[in-house]
């Protein structure tokens, strides 16, 4: 039997205010109903799949009927995390932790990148993949960062090289521009999501609830920075490749058919650590910190360097700043 999803023990007072909260009562009833239905079908499925290990089958069944992460009560979050940890640990045969730490008050994350320093080595791209458990199948690797190589002559973005394969970098007369999620304060992707599966956390990180995403890819169309990726197939990730320190809204293993994106390494930054790309950069071009702390490195960049943001005119209010010394 699956663990009883604590649908009945919802503490109404603890419920975060949400657009759907007025309908929460009826939703709860319906959910209870669907959970019952799922239990019944689950039993059927379990007998059918008796050859397979049924604990993971049960877990994924329960996952199918859980609600949106940010509408979950503390108990429901705990149950969902427990389910996931069990499933991941079994699947990857090593201990996997799923963090659910929340945004801290007084923190608004921002990042900056020194275009003058960037040498286009793509270590950030690879470090991001190692840290965030992106799919790595044969010949195809999901990357959240794309580094553009541009000639120093007057040029348009369309003339940039995306797949440069130089022997060494930096190449003469070239400059490099990594692009990833800008963690917009006014994120177009969030606005267009029909089910609010992607949303802005209080510390300014735009996240995706992988279990809630319906895969319509509207957010991909809405993003002016091409920062979002889709799981076109069941992600390929081996046990050795897996980074077992995960966050529910960050680098936990994803499933087929959902969108994913940079989260400023939420699993790291919520615990005080710099994002992986910032650490991997050999030239220290990437800086990160709390925009609300005037002693932070990011604020010092904003105060002392010439800064611009990409496609500012689109009213996205990016929290990713490009700068030059």
């Amino acid at each position: 039997m699956p663990e009883n999803i604590p649908l009945k023990e919802i503490d109404v007072t603890e419920k975060p205010e949400s657009p759907g909260s007025s309908a929460s009562l009826s939703r709860r009833k319906l959910l209870e109903f669907s959970a019952k239905v799922s239990t019944v079908s689950l039993l059927g499925a379990a007998t059918l799949l008796s050859g397979c290990d049924d604990s993971s089958a049960q877990v994924s069944w329960a996952e199918n009927f859980q609600k949106a992460y940010r509408l979950m009560s503390a108990d429901e979050v705990a149950a969902a995390i427990k389910r996931l940890e069990a499933r991941y640990s079994e699947h990857f045969s090593k201990a996997v932790s799923v963090d659910s730490s929340k945004a801290e008050p007084g923190v608004l994350f921002g990042a900056a990148l020194n275009l003058q320093k960037c040498i286009g080595c793509r270590r950030c791209v690879k470090a991001c993949t190692l840290e965030n458990n992106q799919s790595r199948t044969e010949g195809e690797e999901t990357e959240w960062i794309r580094v553009l190589k541009m000639e120093q002559e007057p040029t348009q973005q369309e003339d940039a090289e995306h797949y440069y394969q130089s022997e060494s970098v930096p190449q003469q007369n070239a400059h490099y521009m990594p692009i990833s999620c800008m963690q917009c304060e006014n994120p177009p992707c969030v606005k267009v999501c029909p089910v609010q599966a992607t949303y802005r956390e209080d510390d300014g990180i735009v996240v995706v609830d992988y279990n809630w995403c319906i895969g319509c890819r509207m957010c991909i169309q809405a993003c002016p920075y091409w920062a979002r990726r889709f799981n076109w197939r069941e992600p390929g990730l081996s046990s050795e490749q897996l980074n077992p320190n995960t966050h529910y809204l960050g680098n936990r293993p994803r499933m087929k058919g959902v969108v994913e994106k940079c989260t400023f390494c939420i699993q790291r930054v919520r615990k005080g650590r710099n994002p992986a790309c910032v650490e991997a950069c050999p030239v220290g071009a990437r800086k990160f910190g709390n925009l609300l702390d005037e002693n932070s490195e990011i604020r010092k960049v904003l105060a002392s360097k010439r800064v611009f943001r990409l496609k500012e005119e689109l009213n996205t209010e990016p929290k990713f700043f490009y700068f030059a010394d």
Binding site: I179, V195, I214, A222, W232, G257
Partner: protein, 422 residues
Amino acid sequence: MSTQARPTQLRFTHPAFLTAFFRYAFRGSKQYYLWLGFLVSFIPPLLWGAHRQFTLGMAVTGLSDQVSWGIYIANFVFLVGVAAAAVTIIFPAYVYQHKALKKVAVLGEILAITAVCMCILFILFHMGRPDRLWHMLPALGVFNFPSAMLTWDTLVLIIYFLLNLCAAYYYLYTKYRGGELNKRFYLPLVFVSIFWAITIHTVTAFLLNTLPARPMWHHSIMPIRFIATAFVAGPALMIIVFLVIRNKTRLWIENDAIDLLSTIVVACLGLSLFLMLSEIVTELYHATEHSEGLRYLMFGHQGFNELVPWFWFSLLAMLVGWFALMFPRIRKNYSVLPVICLAVFMAIWIEKGLGLIIPASIPSPIGEYSHYSPSLVEVVNCLGSWALGIFMLTILTKGATGVITGAVQWENSVPKGEHSHA
């Protein structure tokens, strides 16, 4: 009318109506069965394609992170237009009391119902997780209304579907029962659905053109261009349907009806071409970065030119069709007219299907050019969905002709009933 039958009218006759309707709809000549069989033959490949896509994931399509919306959405957008275009029959019928069209106005509603069903089918194919569609249900899930344009589109499409379903069912059922239409119920339904037809296509345009990330779409001209092209494709399809009905069933559709539709086609085609020209001139005069998509569509870019022949074929077909249809002699030549209509229909399918959806993603928002062509799975799924839609249209239209001609009638199934209809 049929006072003798009145006591029986109290009985619940919907099952009888549906049985009679579909019994008539599925009965026909050998040719008819061949046609249905032809359509059904697309279903096994569809099932294969659907199975592959739902088990292996969207990787079996030609889509990528660069081009993440493809032929499914292209068909969706086009079919929303076809659904909206039902108004080109209903509006003249009920606002201008066009007699010939009023007689067959229900066929317009059937077209709308079918097109919306096809839209839903294409959306299901487009979605990465169709199993999670329930996340949109207002009580169970989260419906991001009014923020997300997609929720607006869902709402207006479902309401449009229900309006037309109610109107068409009520009309056919009442005809079947031989009663009078309750105008207080029926006319408001019709007028709301006329208004609603415009909203569905407007909102679908808003879905795309409210995205500054995609400069190719970011035009305020898109909604009106959508409606103009929809009012070409929809009536063009209806002309073909009407001519088939006229030739193959006992329902005679007046020349008057067909001529009005072809006039609408030629007028709206002219308007569409004008709007297209406006956009091209605006974009290409200075050819800023924002016109990259359009330039890719029209001329290609360093080997990325899959769409170029499609665009020029579409433009040529529209121009030739428009020019030809301006001559009443051609317009009234019912052996040439369907050919032109088919060409124009396909031209619009390209223009606001592939030709609209793909160049928005090529180049990508950060300037990457990539290739997209639909995979085999996408092609069989699209063909299958079209076949299903045309099958549905055929059946419903056949049934409706039965009701309109009186072949399907309540009295017919009651031995003692009086037969009194015009």
